[in-house]
């Protein structure tokens, strides 16, 4: 019996080919793991996938809902991907999302309606969005400075600030920002029309797609341009791939780090504003429901390719929307959607690994086995 062993070796493949391998193995693995989840839950695997597809793509309404879900996911995905391109881990998109929503909410609740005349939409809405970008960016500023100046891990600082952000939001809508007409229930008043993101198809009742989606797509393009075509983007990429080369070239690494993390925070903040101004219109429980964390899945599904982020966001959106049907149609528990999301992330990471490495089965040749014995 000659022993068989697994050998891992780096794969020599071109970028396009690697991307294809990565994506296909990610999907195959996610499919496999998802099927396993279904099988363990005791449902017909084929029926489960059909129900998922039916739930996601079965009607024009569900297609619209995918877009609604994708809009914030694109932005949080971009936020995470941008940082990862610089070898930074922004796991604080959730908190920046909240701060962005709070800043936009402040404009909508207190600035726009105040004064003799309420602000018009063409003034109030851009201001609310700008406030959101500032709010999200500001929430990332402290971790960015800590990282750039003192080398404090941004993973921990951004993660911890998530909890602070949510507690702060709850304090506001339970306390000072509570809707006076809300009969004591937690939550702010509804935002005025002037700061709401307009619907794309206002004539269709129930079609919730808002123009925040277009904003997200435009920002994906802009961010890609920033990284690929500008001098700042070049410096950021150099810093991400090799900090020593950035130092050699004389780039201001600390400044680039701070700018990138704040930009990332601003994107996540805009995601929060989009969700508040476009969909929920009120700050209350459940405003932040993991869309920031889901940005991590989106970013890795897109392999940190900024132009692929919208596609990955649509894909995850479809999965989340379609998963409704697993509950209603097949009586699977609600956690099935989470399990599928986890399977997708796992598949994406493993897929990237498989694209970078090749696994081979090697049969140890007779001569070599002999040497080993001889030596011992």
């Amino acid at each position: 019996m000659r022993p068989v062993r697994l050998v891992l070796e780096p794969r020599q493949a071109s970028g396009a080919w690697r991307a294809a391998i990565s994506l296909l193995s990610a999907l195959a693995l996610a499919g496999l793991l998802g099927s396993l989840v279904f099988a363990l839950a005791g449902v017909d695997v084929g029926a489960a996938w059909r129900a998922l597809a039916q739930g996601a793509f079965g009607s024009s309404y569900s297609l619209g809902e995918i877009l609604v879900k994708a809009a914030p996911l694109i932005l949080t995905g971009l936020a995470v991907a941008l940082c990862c391109r610089l070898n930074l881990w922004n796991v604080g998109a959730e908190g920046q999302f909240v701060l962005g929503a709070l800043a936009a909410g402040y404009v909508g609740l207190f600035l726009a309606p105040a004064g003799a005349q309420p602000w018009p939409a063409h003034f109030a809405l851009p201001l609310a969005l700008a406030a959101a970008a500032l709010g999200g960016g500001a929430w990332a500023l402290a971790p960015a400075l800590l990282k750039a100046r003192l080398g404090v891990s941004e993973i921990l600082s951004t993660l911890l600030l998530n909890y602070v952000a949510v507690l702060f939001m709850e304090h506001l809508f339970y306390g000072p920002w509570r809707d006076p007409a809300g009969q004591g229930f937690p939550g702010t008043a509804e935002l005025p029309e002037a700061v709401r993101l307009p619907l794309v198809m206002p004539w269709l009742p129930g079609a919730r797609v808002h123009w925040g989606l277009a904003l997200a797509l435009a920002l994906a393009l802009a961010l890609w341009f920033l990284l690929a075509r500008t001098r700042w983007g070049f410096r950021a990429r150099v810093l991400g791939q090799s900090p020593r080369a950035a130092a050699y070239a004389g780039f201001h690494s600390a400044r680039i780090t701070v700018t990138a993390l704040c930009l990332s925070g601003a994107l996540a903040g805009l995601a929060g504003a989009g969700e508040l101004l476009g969909v929920q219109h009120r700050i209350q429980d459940g405003l932040a429901s993991g869309l920031g964390f889901a940005g991590i899945v989106v970013a890795f599904l897109a392999r940190l390719n900024l132009l692929a982020v919208p596609l990955a966001a649509l894909f995850l959106g479809a999965l989340l929307v379609g998963a409704d049907q697993l509950q209603t149609g097949l009586r699977l528990p609600g956690a099935a959607a989470l399990a599928l999301e986890a399977a997708l992330l796992f598949g994406a990471l493993l897929g990237e690994f498989l694209a970078a490495n090749r696994i081979r089965l090697v049969r140890a040749p007779a001569g070599e086995a002999g040497e080993a014995r001889h030596a011992s």
Partner: protein
């Protein structure tokens, strides 16, 4: 540490025991079958248990290639390995380790975040056990605290850990590639004591080096490689000579001429009158406590090459970084043409090609912009980068598919030529080159040397290197750094220059009135200075 035993006692084995490992006709060619480089050409070598074998050769002579074949990293194109007389085919370093052959590379393969014990467990299998590791270290007389993280260990401790890794895997043949290049002189004697003991315990030890004087004490036998050929094989100590070796003869064999650099294009010191002073260094001190280097003064004129040499860890890395503009000095000034140095005035080729001088995952066009991109304009001039990269490729004959090739896909020599071409294209008045030929093959070494000589026609050049032969071959003056201070400046033209540089590097006193080019090395009468404790 080395016990009372005289090093020479082991040189002649009692009985003609068969070699434990033999090479017969090993041949390795890089690049295509025509063209390319013949790194090893029909090399024979025998390694015996109980002996320390020094394999000598200049940079690029083929030493690393030969050792890579012995340790399973490369497979020979022709020739055979015999382990205790039986044919041996090695497909991987792991297979070599199973056969009892282990190698300590110049760059250590340790996980910095883990402790010594954990690194040992990674190499030898099993659970990490600080106690077992400490016992093992003690058994071999290697001073090491296995509970400390590698990142906290000195270079010497890391090297001992690497050796311990091989011993934990029960290696019978230990190969050490340039082991002294990272050590302080005091640590060198400790290392040699260890090697001696390991050999006395019946292991075969191979010491790969280009530093001739260093081997005098420790080696039992010596082989010399030059340009891929074995010129002298298994030469024993000759008892008649004071150091045991005909060092001058060995040196001739290694470099192929009486004094390195005496012929070829080595620079003459320029007439001080005609030349404009480019670099003026005044009282320069490095960062750190104690400072990496201190009180450095010198001037370099246009058309002159000044070499700064030193054993790794004596401050020349930090000095190069300050001159290159990537680090700030703690005190003192370094001015170029009277102004503070910046990217436009200094072209800098750092030691680390992959990761500092270039970004491995980026294209050559992008890497070209790395140090040549100015601060003007918001957009990246991709087209200009491509054109300039194409020009750089053409200028020094870089073998690459084009400006869109990734830096990581280039061989070390081609990447170094690309970096040199990029830096030369800046036409800066000062060129700082650090360890320019480390790890390059013979062909690339000569091309890089030629490029540096050409550059010196237009600019002032500072060459920072650990290799005295290279310094003497290229420079008009050689400044030797020892423990961060300039220990002396040597004119390559003077008699016994090579010996003087070697001695200054080792921190030995500098008898300015050295006799004519006699055999040199560590003088027997001064064992205390850099020798054994």
């Amino acid at each position: 540490m080395s016990g009372g035993r005289s090093p020479g006692a082991n040189a002649a084995p009692m009985a003609p025991a068969p070699p434990v490992l033999s090479c017969r006709g090993l041949t390795k060619r890089f690049g295509g079958p025509e063209g390319g480089v013949l790194a090893n050409d029909g090399v024979d070598l025998d390694l015996f248990a109980g002996r320390v074998h020094a394999l000598l050769g200049e940079n690029g002579a083929g030493k690393s290639t030969l050792m890579s074949m012995l340790s399973g990293a490369f497979r020979p194109d022709a020739g055979a390995l015999l382990l205790r007389g039986e044919p041996l085919v090695l497909r991987s370093p792991a297979a070599a380790m199973r056969a009892g052959i282990g190698m300590v590379h110049q760059r250590f393969a340790l996980v910095e975040a883990l402790t010594g014990a954990e690194n040992l467990a990674l190499a030898a299998g099993g659970a990490p056990s600080p106690r077992a590791a400490a016992e093992l270290a003690e058994a071999f007389g290697l001073l090491l605290d296995p509970k400390r993280r590698v990142s906290e260990l000195s270079m010497g401790e890391r090297q001992r850990l690497e050796i311990l890794k091989l011993l934990a895997c029960d290696a019978r043949i230990l190969i050490l590639d340039e082991p002294t290049s990272v050590l302080a002189p005091a640590e060198i004697s400790g290392l040699y004591g260890t090697l001696r003991r390991l050999a006395d315990q019946g292991r075969a030890v191979v010491l790969v080096t280009h530093k001739l004087p260093e081997i005098a004490d420790v080696a039992d036998e010596v082989s010399v490689l030059r340009r891929g050929r074995m010129l002298a094989r298994n030469m024993p100590r000759s008892q008649g000579l004071p150091t045991g070796w005909d060092l001058a003869g060995l040196s001739r064999l290694m470099v192929g001429r009486e004094l390195p650099g005496a012929s070829s294009g080595r620079q003459r010191r320029p007439g001080a009158s005609a030349r404009e002073t480019v670099l003026r260094v005044r009282g320069l001190c490095g960062q750190g406590q104690p400072p990496a280097f201190a009180d450095v003064h010198f001037e370099v004129a246009r058309g002159e090459v000044l070499a700064v040499v030193g054993v790794a860890g004596n401050g020349q890395e930090a000095l190069a970084a300050v001159l290159g503009g990537t680090k700030r000095p703690a005190r003192g000034t370094a001015t170029v043409l009277g102004r503070e140095a910046d990217q436009a005035l200094v072209a800098y080729v750092p030691e680390d090609r992959h990761g500092t001088a270039t970004v491995p995952g980026m294209t050559l066009a992008e890497n070209l912009l790395l140090s040549t991109t100015g601060s003007r304009g918001a957009y990246l001039q991709g087209g200009a980068g491509s054109r300039a990269a194409r020009a750089a490729i053409a200028a020094l004959g870089v073998v690459a598919s084009g400006p869109q090739a990734l830096a990581r896909d280039l061989s070390g020599g081609n990447l170094q030529k690309f970096i040199l071409a990029r830096e030369l294209s800046k036409s800066a008045p000062l060129l700082v080159v650090e360890q320019p030929t480390q790890g390059l093959d013979v062909l690339a070494v000569s091309e890089v040397h030629a490029a540096i000589r050409r550059a010196a026609e237009e600019s002032a050049v500072v060459l920072v290197t650990g290799d005295p032969a290279e310094a003497l071959a290229l420079a008009g003056r050689v400044a030797v750094l020892f423990r961060g201070r300039v220990a002396g400046v040597v004119d390559p033209g003077e008699a016994g220059a090579f010996a003087r540089v070697g001695r200054l590097m080792a921190g030995l006193s500098d008898p300015a009135a050295e006799g004519p080019a006699g055999p040199v090395g560590v003088p027997g009468g001064k064992p205390g200075a850099g020798g054994r404790p």
